[in-house]
C-alpha cells in the first residue's frame, strides 16, 4: 500500500515553476530515489513533503491522511523525518543532545514539571537517552557522543543527521543527498546503513541522490526529475536506459 502519495503538485517562486504537476506514490517499505540535474526541483520537492513550502496546487497524503496543509512541526509527529543537503545540525550542541532533540515529539511532560525536574521528567530523560543510545549503536557514533557538532568532520555530521532523524522513529525518512561530501569508503558504509535502516527498522526511505551507483544499488524505484517535471518513474535499470532521462542529463 502507498505510504506517501503526491498528486499533481505545483509550486512556483515568483514566476519560476520549480515543481510542475508532479505525482508519485511511495510504497511502504521501499527505497525510493529521486534523481535529476541540478535545479530540477528535487530539494523543493522535499521541502514540500516536509511542509516547509506550501504548494500552489495539488494534494499530499501520508498514511491515508491529507497533510497538504498540516503545519511543518506536525510532520515529525506523524512519522516523517528528514535530513538536509548541507546539514542543518544544532552546531553548538553535542551529538547526544542533537539526537535527544529527535525525541522531542515523544515528550509527555509539561513546563511546570520540567521547571521542578520531577521524577517523571527524570524518567523520561533516561528513557530518551536509552533510545538515543540505541541509534548511536546502530550507526556507530559512540566515540563522537559528547563532541560538539562544530568540531566534527563533514562525513560524521552527515551521519549524525541521519541518526537524529532516526530518533524520531519515523515511518518515512527523507534523505537529501546523503552521500554528498562523503568519500567512497563512507559512501560504501552509507549504503549498508541504508539497507539496515530500511530492512531492520522497516523505515521507508525517499532519497535525493546524485551517485548513480548508490541509487541503483539501494533503491527499489527511481523517479527522474528535470525542470520541475517528472520525466519517468521506474526501476533503476529502466530509468538509466530511458531516452528522455538521458536527454535531460546529456542534452540533445
Amino acid at each position: 500500500m502507498s505510504l506517501l502519495k503526491m498528486t499533481d503538485m505545483s509550486l512556483s517562486f515568483g514566476g519560476v515553476l520549480a515543481v510542475q504537476q508532479v505525482s508519485f506514490d511511495v510504497v511502504e517499505g521501499e527505497v525510493f530515489s529521486i534523481i535529476g540535474p541540478n535545479g530540477a526541483g528535487k530539494t523543493t520537492l522535499f521541502n514540500l513533503i516536509s511542509r516547509l513550502y506550501d504548494a500552489d496546487i495539488g494534494k499530499l497524503c501520508f498514511d491515508d491522511e491529507n497533510i497538504t496543509r498540516t503545519p511543518a512541526h506536525h510532520i515529525a509527529e506523524l512519522g516523517i523525518a528528514r535530513t538536509f543537503q548541507n546539514t542543518e545540525l544544532f552546531e553548538h550542541e553535542t551529538v547526544l543532545h542533537n539526537l535527544l532533540i529527535g525525541k522531542h515529539v515523544y515528550r509527555k511532560t509539561n513546563l511546570l514539571s520540567e521547571f521542578c525536574f520531577t521524577p517523571r521528567v527524570r524518567r523520561q530523560e533516561l528513557q530518551f537517552r536509552r533510545e538515543a543510545e540505541d541509534v548511536i549503536d546502530l550507526l556507530n557514533l559512540q566515540r563522537y557522543r559528547d563532541q560538539i557538532i562544530g568540531n566534527l568532520p563533514y562525513g560524521v555530521r552527515k551521519m549524525v543527521e541521519v541518526a537524529r532523524a532516526l530518533c524520531i522513529k519515523p515511518k518515512l525518512l527523507l534523505l537529501d543527498e546523503p552521500s554528498s561530501g562523503l568519500n567512497p569508503e563512507e559512501t560504501e558504509d552509507l549504503s549498508f546503513w541504508l539497507e539496515d535502516i530500511n530492512e531492520e527498522l522497516g523505515v521507508t526511505i525517499i532519497m535525493v541522490e546524485h551517485d548513480m551507483n548508490l541509487v541503483s544499488r539501494s533503491s527499489n524505484r527511481v523517479m527522474a526529475l528535470a525542470d520541475g517535471k517528472c520525466l519517468a518513474i521506474g526501476s533503476p535499470q529502466e530509468i538509466q536506459s530511458n531516452a528522455e532521462v538521458l536527454r535531460a542529463y546529456l542534452g540533445d
Partner: protein
C-alpha cells in the same frame, strides 16, 4: 489649511533627516550585512565636526562643509578598519552589540572633547523665511529638503553608473563570489563605511542649524532606524520613504494627539509595520534556503 501645509513641510524636512541617517544604516547593511546602531552617533560627530570647522576654526561655510564630509568619511573608514574589520563573519548579534558599545563610546568622546552643553550652529542661510500665502517656510527646512534630494540623486548615479558603486553592490550580494571576481571586498567595506559616514555627516550639517548640537542628539538614530525598517531594511529608496512617513506622521501627531504620543509615533508605526508587513514597504529579504 495652512496648518496642514505647515505641518507637512516641517514633517518632510524632519523626515529627510531621518531618511538620511536611515540611508547610512541601509548602505552599511546592504553591503556588509552589519547593523550599525551607532549611525546616530556618527551623525552627531558630523555635526560637531561642522561646528568645529565653522564656529571654532571660522572657515568659510562651504569649505567647512567639504572639510566635514571628508573628515567624517575618513573617520568612517577608520572605524571600519579598527573596530569592525575583526567582526567580519561573526554573528549579527555580536555586531549589533559592538555598534551599541561604539555608540556609547562615541558619545563619551564627544562629551570629553566638546562638553555636554548644547551648541548652536549658524549657517549663512539661518533665519531666512519665505512666506507663501500664510505658510512660513524656513530656509533651513528648504535646504534640508533640497540637500536630501541632491544627495539621493548623486547616490543613484553613483550606484547605477560608477564602477565602485557596482562593485559595492556585488560585494553586498555575495562576499565570496565578489572575492573571486577580483573585487577587493575588505577595501570596499571601508569605502562603504566612509560613504555612510559622509552621508550621516551631511545629515548632521543639515540638521544642526534647526536643532542644537549635543552628545545626546544621536538618539534620533533610533527613530531613523525605525524609518529604515518601515521602508524595508536593505532598500535605499525605502529608507527615504520610511523617513518621510515617520517625519510627517510625527508632526501631525504632535498637534492632534495628547502630549506624549508624538514621542512614540515612530515606534508605533514601526510595530504596526512589523505586524502587518514585516518585510517593509520595499521588500528585499527572502527566507533562508535549505
Amino acid at each position: 489649511m495652512e496648518v496642514v501645509f505647515q505641518l507637512l513641510l516641517s514633517g518632510i524636512s524632519q523626515g529627510c533627516v531621518y531618511g538620511l541617517i536611515a540611508l547610512g544604516f541601509v548602505l552599511i547593511y546592504k553591503a556588509t550585512e552589519m547593523v550599525n546602531f551607532a549611525q546616530g552617533e556618527i551623525m552627531m560627530l558630523g555635526a560637531f565636526f561642522a561646528f568645529t570647522f565653522i564656529s571654532i576654526l571660522e572657515l568659510n561655510f562651504f569649505l567647512a562643509v567639504a572639510a566635514t564630509i571628508v573628515s567624517m568619511a575618513i573617520c568612517g573608514a577608520l572605524l571600519e578598519r579598527v573596530v569592525l574589520r575583526p567582526m567580519i563573519g561573526e554573528p549579527p548579534f555580536s555586531v549589533l552589540m559592538l555598534t551599541i558599545g561604539l555608540g556609547f563610546l562615541l558619545r563619551a568622546i564627544a562629551g570629553a572633547v566638546w562638553g555636554s552643553e548644547p551648541k548652536s550652529l549658524s549657517a549663512p542661510y539661518t533665519g531666512g523665511v519665505f512666506n507663501v500665502s500664510g505658510v512660513i517656510i524656513g530656509y533651513e527646512n528648504l535646504v534640508i529638503i533640497a540637500g536630501t534630494a541632491l544627495l539621493c540623486s548623486l547616490l543613484f548615479v553613483f550606484f547605477k553608473f560608477s564602477r565602485l558603486g557596482i562593485a559595492m553592490q556585488a560585494a553586498s550580494q555575495n562576499q565570496l563570489a565578489a572575492y573571486y571576481v577580483g573585487i577587493p571586498v575588505k577595501r570596499i567595506y571601508s569605502m562603504v563605511w566612509a560613504l555612510s559616514a559622509a552621508i550621516s555627516a551631511v545629515a548632521g550639517i543639515l540638521v544642526a542649524p534647526v536643532s542644537l548640537i549635543d552628545p545626546l542628539m544621536g538618539f534620533i538614530g533610533i527613530k531613523a532606524f525605525a524609518a529604515a525598517i518601515v521602508g524595508g531594511f536593505g532598500s535605499l529608496p525605502g529608507a527615504i520613504v520610511g523617513g518621510l512617513i515617520i517625519g510627517i506622521v510625527e508632526q501631525f501627531a504632535s498637534l492632534y494627539l495628547p502630549p506624549g504620543f508624538s514621542d512614540v509615533t515612530a515606534y508605533v508605526i514601526l510595530l504596526l509595520m512589523l505586524l502587518i508587513r514585516p518585510e517593509g514597504i520595499f521588500a528585499t529579504m527572502q527566507r533562508k534556503k535549505v
